[in-house]
């Protein structure tokens, strides 16, 4: 099935991953269960043990069998992957590329959806943040992330190392269309971010496609910012943004910065979405595996829990999605700076859904 409401059982692949991944995923599952309890919707979960730990045990990052098994699900919930930085045994592993990016590319997650919202009461680094509530629609399957590079004479004084950003009208148009549709449902404002004055070709195709699709959306106000200028506005006037559409690399940078200005990536959720439904979409917090605090119940599971809201929304379960979002907002509103364990935060949010 592609939409859970067509059925009562949705098949969910759960990839807890490394570091704090398992801890935050446990809370996300708790909230998912609470949000769907008594609704007739049930998630049939399969756990996949993937990440640095698995690599160290077996030498595998993501086998073709893993991929096929995961692809047979309706959606994926992922915690975080990545081992301890500098671990010599992981030197040649690149878990990020082999696992996370491989999943995004193989499952054609061409929309990497990253909402940024400053919730009332959340402390952030800006003195006068104003109202922050925008969504970055980051392209997920092209651009500088394609892995189309190489080096010659590697490690010698004559080395040349190239890396090619590949962008297609097919790939750009589908993500730009998604962004315009989203803008129609929000404030009808869309900002293209790129670096057209330098990356003439990679930027040019984005500009051309946005100009063309804009014709079909006369009510959406469109503007353009170079990526360097966009980072300035993210700290001086983030309220100016509503929907941002950008490429894979610029989207990576802007969403980490956006996470920081909205109180830290402990709150930033994301969806790696295949809108066509040909493959399962994958939901994950923007943060990494943070091995330094793993297993200590110090991680904030909120980003993982908000990713569950995106997952529910994607599966057509808008009511449940909104209930999760509201429970998180209520929890955040009552935070008083007292420290809580990962499980305590998850319990508190799940508790609001049971009430």
């Amino acid at each position: 099935m592609s939409r859970a409401h067509e059925s009562t059982v949705a098949k969910l692949a759960v990839i807890p991953g490394d570091g704090i991944g398992p801890e935050v995923v446990a809370e996300a599952e708790k909230v998912l269960d609470a949000a769907t309890a008594g609704t007739g919707i049930r998630f049939d979960k399969t756990r996949f043990s993937l990440g640095a730990a698995r690599y160290l045990e077996t030498g595998d990052t993501l086998t073709d069998d893993d991929l096929a098994a995961i692809a047979a699900h309706d959606a994926i919930l992922l915690g975080a992957v990545g081992g301890v930085p500098g671990d010599p045994r992981l030197k040649n592993a690149n878990i990020e590329r082999g696992l996370l990016l491989r999943l995004r590319f193989a499952l054609d997650h061409y929309v990497n959806l990253r909402p940024s919202k400053l919730y009332p009461g959340v402390p952030g680094p800006l003195a006068a943040p104003g109202d922050i509530d925008f969504v970055v629609v980051r392209e997920g399957t092209e651009g500088p992330y394609v892995g189309n590079g190489g080096s010659i004479r590697t490690g010698t004084p004559q080395e040349v190392a190239n890396e090619t950003s590949v962008n297609t009208a097919f790939g750009v148009e589908r993500v730009v269309r998604y962004a315009f549709d989203l803008a129609e449902r929000r404030s009808k404002k869309l900002t293209l971010v790129h670096k057209t004055n330098v990356l003439v070709h990679a930027g040019g195709i984005y500009q051309r496609v946005v100009d063309a699709v804009a014709q079909e959306h006369p009510e959406v106000a469109v503007d353009y910012l170079h990526v360097d200028a966009a980072t300035i506005f993210l700290v001086t006037n983030p309220g100016r943004f509503d929907v941002i559409v950008t490429d894979n690399l610029f989207g990576d940078i802007l969403t980490d910065l956006a996470g920081a200005v909205t109180g830290g990536i402990g709150l930033a959720a994301s969806g790696n979405i295949n809108p066509d439904g040909a493959f399962p979409s994958m939901f994950e917090p923007v943060h990494g595996s943070a091995p330094d605090i793993a297993g200590q119940q110090k991680a904030d599971p909120t980003a993982a829990i908000l990713s569950v809201a995106l997952l529910l929304d994607h599966l057509g379960l808008q009511d449940q999605a909104q209930r999760v979002t509201r429970a998180v907002e209520d929890d955040i509103a009552e935070r008083d700076g007292a420290s809580r364990t990962t499980a305590q935060i998850g319990d508190a949010i799940a508790g609001r859904l049971q009430a």
Copy 2:
């Protein structure tokens, strides 16, 4: 001459440019004159009328003759270039590429030096900025800026647009060596910023070169950040940085953000440096031409004036450079929020040098 102290006359090419460029350059020249008055050092200035205005008149951006004439100078002072955004007559011009980037590449400005300092009393967007005082050493002649791209079937649904980042051991090593030398003279802390987990080849060469050069600088503490994480630290803990070395594109992004967190790019200076002295180095404010406020005496010339300090320092005139920096710091310390014209700020800073 490559160092002004070897002679009493330094040949300076002045490119005021477009928009607010001429206004801020006028103040920068005023301060340059004041800083060198009575020292026996004289700047012999040639003005080059380049930028959007020249393009609209003649169709030329930067001719080979312009380039040869500019190259015969000891240093270059540039205001800002770029016409009014959306001007249809500039549609195919790309003044940035044809002028600014052409100068940087042709004059082998392989170090793009961009100091970031939060001066006491300067209002910025961060609630608790802490002590900010770091320098970004941005590579200036390689990476995604090489213009090594193209598209096929342009404008059709079958378009493919590629853009290749080209990085060489030669190019990376020289900028990394410069950064280590700078770190030796500062706090002995160097951060490499890249995206090695995704841009495996372009990032790999930077990591390898930094690892190798670090062997020769055992007293410099070296760390590494992915570019996305670096943007987070720039707003949550900018004080952690001292010397950052990074590629052309990441340097572009980080320095605009750094300018914003240190009170706006009205204060951010930069040097496009050819450390070998084979070509003249070029000094310019990080900000653009801001055509919307041009000719209104609203622009802050401080970034252009601080660029003069970098110019003096590069020419071996450390005393004069320090006097300019101090005059700017004193001026900033006494700012009370009252608005001053561009010329009033320039006069005030020049006045301190005459006193």
